[in-house]
Amino acid sequence: MLWLSENILFASLLFTVLSGVIALGGRALVFHKLSQILLVVSGILGLSASFKIFLAPERGLQILVEFAEFSPVFQLDLFGAIFFSLISFVSILCAIYARPYVRSYQETYHVPSLNALVAAFVLGMQIVILSHSTLAFMTGWEVMSIASFFLVLSDRSQSAIRAALLYLVMTHLGAAALLAAFLLLSQGSLFIDFSTLASMAWIAPSWLLWTCFGLFFFGFGSKAGIAPFHVWLPEAHPAAPSHISAFMSGVMLKVAIYGFLRVLLFILPPIGTGASLVVLGVGLLTALYGVLYAVVDRDFKRTLAFSSIENIGLIFAMIGMAFFAADRGLDGLYQTAIVAAVFFTIAHALFKTGLFLVSGVVVRAVHTRNIEMMGGLAKRLPGLSISFCVLALAAASLPPFGPFFGEWIFFQGLLQSFSTTSPLVSAVLIFTFALLALVGGLAIFAMVKLFALSMLAEPRGKEVHELPASGELLSIGVCAVAVLVLGIYAPTVLTLIGGVSLTASPVELAVGSATIQPSLILWLLIGCVFLVWVGRRLVSRVEHEREYHGWDCGQPINASMEYTATAFSAPIRFFFRLILRTKKQIETRPVAATNPWIVSHTSTLNLRSIWMDYGYIPAGRFLLGTAQHVKRIQSGNVRFYLLLIFVTLILTLWIAL
């Protein structure tokens, strides 16, 4: 039986490779179709292998054991299986989605290379999850990074190339940090497996651990999109094709979280209060920053990207809180927070994949990513809008969807640990609680803006160009159903992923003394709405109705009078102006020279990125300035260059010896 599961796992990898190879067959659509089918097969095999682990977590699956010198290189344990199942699930959905989606962009993208790169990307992520040695891990990591770099620039536009280059720089700084950390920890051995690495880490001096922790935090954090290393994220996600954005946001960020947790839980000894407070603080900062920009941004996919930053911040805050609690002896909170982080990660993978898939359909329908030009889609695409509504409500962490219960677990854990003995600990808990409540409120705002302004009311822009195909609607619908199922069956999911201690019965979640029954909340809500429906039938029998245009002080009304995304988020922009620093300029130009009252106004509103304006751009300018000074020694004199080379050689030898 075990033998079969291991073969299934291996077959999953094999089918991913096959999918990439077939894709390169040619530009004919049959290769595109075959490639997606193979990816679906790979995903189904991957899911079944993961479920084998969920049901019998005692024994991991090992593959390629015959390569004894690398053993145990590739194995899947319970923790890896959680993330492996996410990759498999999302790749099934994206493959189903991509079949019609990519076909409608045949002219824009080079389809064979796109599909081959997707397969390489998926394979890279699968290898990262499976590998238990530095070399394999870093190989998978690089395959994933480089494939996603090429995927970001797949439409070959100027802006996409800029975004991709920024992404390449950030991701390679991160990869370099990871490699450095692994090498420092293993004292230079690249072929070391994680269990040996862990035993070496336990006896390492504390300064080394601190350095390694910092490098790991930067490496995984920059990949996950932690502020201030998130700048690539709002550029790269919108530039990529939508199913790639779904992959990147839905799974790639999760792979970074997987790596961070793998290192913290299985390799490094417990990090101290200081380090955990850093993770917590940076997580909270990222969450607040991400959500504010998600509220004010006007680009559909950038809003989603900022919302991803917010969610990643939330997950890092949960992780930081967990280790803080562990260090302070609050074991209950430690377990609760880790499980909450993993559960919320699963939920985020589902709803963010769905939302990015929605974004592809919406952007193709209106030919713009600008929310100001959208609207009125719910009338034309009712099925899509219902799924989108569910996904948006889930992303806003409202009951009774999956993410709500992830936050519920964490908040309950915090609430019950408030009255700890140390006032300092209580202060940290309360601060986290209050700040996350604010972030939660603003996240609702961001999601309402995204859904309501793109779907409801009258269309602000042109007509709907292309309706979604059934494959696309199916993927999106599955995501919407999945977040609901994740909510109702949260106890079952927790049991599968090893969080049994947080369930009271097969249908109840429990944190400490508090219990909740997710299905009861859902049925109560449905019951109340049904009751209202019945009541309305009984009491009022008004059937006839009249259609008339909306009332706007008696004047004829058109779509240009509707609220736009900019107007909708204006109060938040005003209240948080000290953080957002939006630049608003109104230019007044006289139209007639004779009459000073006849003027035309132009208003521009610039959303600035404080990290770019106060961090990256000055740093870049400083670097370029320094380079100008360095240029002085480049006199063009060959003998001087020879001297420089000689001095470098001497210095290198001196340092090396």
Binding site: I430, G441, A452, L525, C528, V532, H549, F575
Partner: protein, 307 residues
Amino acid sequence: MITILMLIIQVILVLLIAPFVTGLIRWFKARLQGRQGASPLLMYFALLTTLKKEHVISASRSWMFRFVPFMVLGVAVFLALSLPLVFSDGGIAHVDLFVLAGVLALSSVFLVFGGLDAATAFGGMGASREMTLAALIEPAVLTTFAAFATVAGSASVQSLFGQGMTALTHPALLLSFSALILITLAENARYPVDNPATHLELTMVHEAMVLEYSGPYLAMLEYASSIKLTVFLLVLGNLVWIKPEMYLDAPTIGLGVLGVLVSVCVGSFVLALLESSMAKMRFFRMQEYMSIAFFLALSGLILILVV
């Protein structure tokens, strides 16, 4: 069995008196401002009349427009059902403060959807304001509830707002109680956050969102806001005096009903007094109001942990 019976009594009672509460506040307000005032029972007639009127539906609406009244009234019924309003151990034990906060936000979100779907400038303006208020009140709501939960030792709404706990159980709860009053005003679109009596675009929040609704849908939305207000007044009342534990005999039920009536009468009077004695705040000063609510709640919570 007795629990279900008591729940039914509670829901029916709250749903019955809800329009009366809205009417009563208007009557008290008129009296305090030196006007004769319409009968407190007027709201029943108004709702019944609206129920019989014809729908006039905006040509711009989508499916959402029709779904909103059901969802909003559904959530209001959910509140009337799940909180301990008539008896101290009434309500549904499984609902806790996070569900309560989430459900309140859910009702705001759908109102906002309805406001935006009408495709008018008024609807959008009200929606934008309502969403801002709902987003910024969230930390105050959770922190206030957390303070009550810390004192009660449990997060279930039964122990928060029933079971013998009042605002005097712990001195710091007075701060949380004040925060809860501010939250009540903000959640129910009352002074100084919103003016429930005007249709002037400068001041309105809630009314702007429901402007395009007519006929039975309007009645449902108005009824929902009456229920929500009644529920909040009863919750505040619960924190001032203790309700009887549920028991199936006439005196207990009578005592419960009496408690409800006293709660809403006193609550309405205080609310009318507040509204007659203060001005509405400018919308762009709302962050001050929200900050006050939040810091009141936060200091309450900190005091509980320190004392």
